[in-house]
């Protein structure tokens, strides 16, 4: 069966489809950004929906806010375990020749809890406060170098650069080589079909190179007095200093991957949302203190990870449907974030919401995003500095979107800056 047809679904066509035949796993729906119409239908007509046949096999879709919350907080029934398929709609495969990296996002307790506890202090709020001045200084530099009045690609020049810069700051990574981090993040999540790596062997080679590089940084920091970068912290903290190397690498890459595409696309998504909602842009320019509530609203609006997946360990009922042991259950955060029975006017981007953090983009329960305050911190700094410099970041052409069912990404966003 072919993965996908690239044919554009019109609103009429989507409304007329038999509900049983809806398959929201097709990456083109996300690239063409018609996916919202499918989720609107599912939430209304069949909020817990079974797709019998797709390129990723049969799966359940959970589309309403409260049902998603119920699954996400029930880790005893809904497992994240990599060996059962892991956390994405596409099963994590064991592939011959691939380097198996263990990451606690795809583990159940007790192992998940031990590993997360060991790594958490690195991104604890009090540690972030220490890093904020450096992140801000480097963000200013990136923004100061941008051309005024000329068209350029915001994704490449700002979103990727800022995200890479933050990661480099967190790890105190050699500055000139910082784009290696972006590359390794892409490689970690890459399968050969994506074109990012030529083969699993090639991926393995690059990850070994990455491992050697971090080993070098670790060896250097373990022999120096403790500092507040993440590698030094992990090399000195009792909970992590004796971690087997592959485990350390897995955790490190999880921090890089977790914070890379997600933050990048939130930075791009915010610019797009403000341009599509000029009244909101005006509100922001009149009162920059709204950045505090705008940041979580951008993260809700973008929903950088469209879903997380679980595997049922036993029979369970959700929304009147009987989930069987071993079934694949997909929590569509992108849909739950548009559920207007929980979020007021959920289909509108509103930068001064009363309860802006009540969204699903970071998940809930024991796997709730460990970097959620760091992600917000980065976005807050960037918007504060953008506001000081530019009256408007004007989108000048059509955005291009990523062909992916998991990462809700913007790959190209032409803009022009207006000086303040």
């Amino acid at each position: 069966m072919s993965i996908d047809t690239m044919e554009l679904d019109t609103a009429e066509k989507i409304a007329a489809m038999p509900i049983d035949e809806i398959d929201v796993s097709r990456p083109s729906l996300f690239q063409q950004d018609t996916i919202g119409l499918f989720f609107d239908r599912l939430r209304k007509e069949e909020p817990v929906h079974y797709c019998r046949e797709s390129h990723v096999g049969p799966f359940w879709s959970i589309t309403k806010f409260d049902d998603i919350m119920a699954v996400d907080t029930n880790h005893k029934v809904f497992s994240s375990e990599a060996k059962l398929g892991g956390i994405a709609i596409q099963d994590m495969h064991s592939v011959e020749g691939a380097l198996e990296l263990e990451m606690f996002i795809a583990m159940d307790p007790p192992k998940h809890d031990q590993q997360r506890k060991a790594v958490t202090p690195a991104v604890a709020p009090s540690n972030l406060l220490l890093l904020e001045p450096t992140i801000r200084e480097r963000a200013c530099q990136i923004l100061d170098d941008l051309p005024i009045g000329e068209e350029f690609d915001w994704v490449d020049k700002v979103s990727i650069e800022l995200t890479t810069m933050t990661l480099a700051t967190l790890f105190d990574f050699p500055w000139e080589e910082r784009r290696k981090l972006t590359r390794w993040s892409d490689v970690t999540t890459a399968a050969p079909e994506t074109g990012i790596v030529a083969s699993y062997e090639a991926r393995r080679e690059e990850l070994i190179e990455c491992a050697m590089y971090f080993k070098g940084l670790w060896d250097q920091r373990v022999n120096e007095p403790p500092r507040n970068d993440l590698i030094s912290m992990m090399a000195h903290a009792p909970a992590t200093k004796d971690m087997p190397f592959l485990e350390f690498l897995g955790n490190l890459l999880l921090l890089i991957v977790g914070g890379n595409d997600t933050t990048r696309n939130s930075i791009s998504g915010g610019v797009l949302a403000l341009n599509q909602n000029p009244d909101e842009y005006r509100k922001l320019n009149d009162d920059p203190s709204l950045i505090t509530s705008m940041v979580p609203e951008i993260i809700r609006w973008q929903t950088p990870l469209t879903h997380m997946r679980r595997t049922a360990l036993q029979e369970w009922e959700i929304g009147g449907k009987q989930i069987k042991k071993g079934d694949k259950v997909v929590m569509w955060y992108l849909s739950g974030n548009r559920d207007d029975t929980v979020i007021d006017q959920a289909d509108r981007f509103i930068i001064d919401r009363k309860n802006p953090r009540h969204h699903l983009s970071f998940g809930y329960g024991i796997h709730r995003c460990m970097g959620n305050r760091l992600a917000e911190l980065q976005l807050r700094i960037i918007w504060e500095e953008i506001h000081k410099r530019f009256a408007k970041v004007e989108v000048t052409g059509q955005p291009e979107r990523l062909y992916s069912t998991l990462v809700r990404g913007i790959t190209k966003l032409p803009v022009r800056l207006h000086a303040r």
Binding site: D72, T73, D113, R116, K117, S126, R357, G365, I366, R373
Partner: protein, 108 residues
Amino acid sequence: MVKVTFVSSDGTRREVEIAEGETAREAALFNGVPGIDGDCGGACACATCHVHVDPTWIDKVGRLKEGEAEAELLQFAEGASEYSRLACQIPMEAAMEGLVLHVPAQQY
């Protein structure tokens, strides 16, 4: 109404009132007490309503129970202690009149 006092990390005390049947999370949020975020809406799912119960009150309020959702979440919170609880899991009943809760410097 039940009276409850929130003590910030800088020592500021705020005495507020809340209707019986609400939780300590609402007592903070409805009265504008800073430092309690409560992102998940009180579903015991986010750990951003972390408080330290005053030691004189801990036995009345009750401690975390190992294996329960609240303890599972709080194990990852910065500065969690034997007095840690989630405010959304503390129901404000008449017996809680005068309760004292300490708000950590940072949530999460």
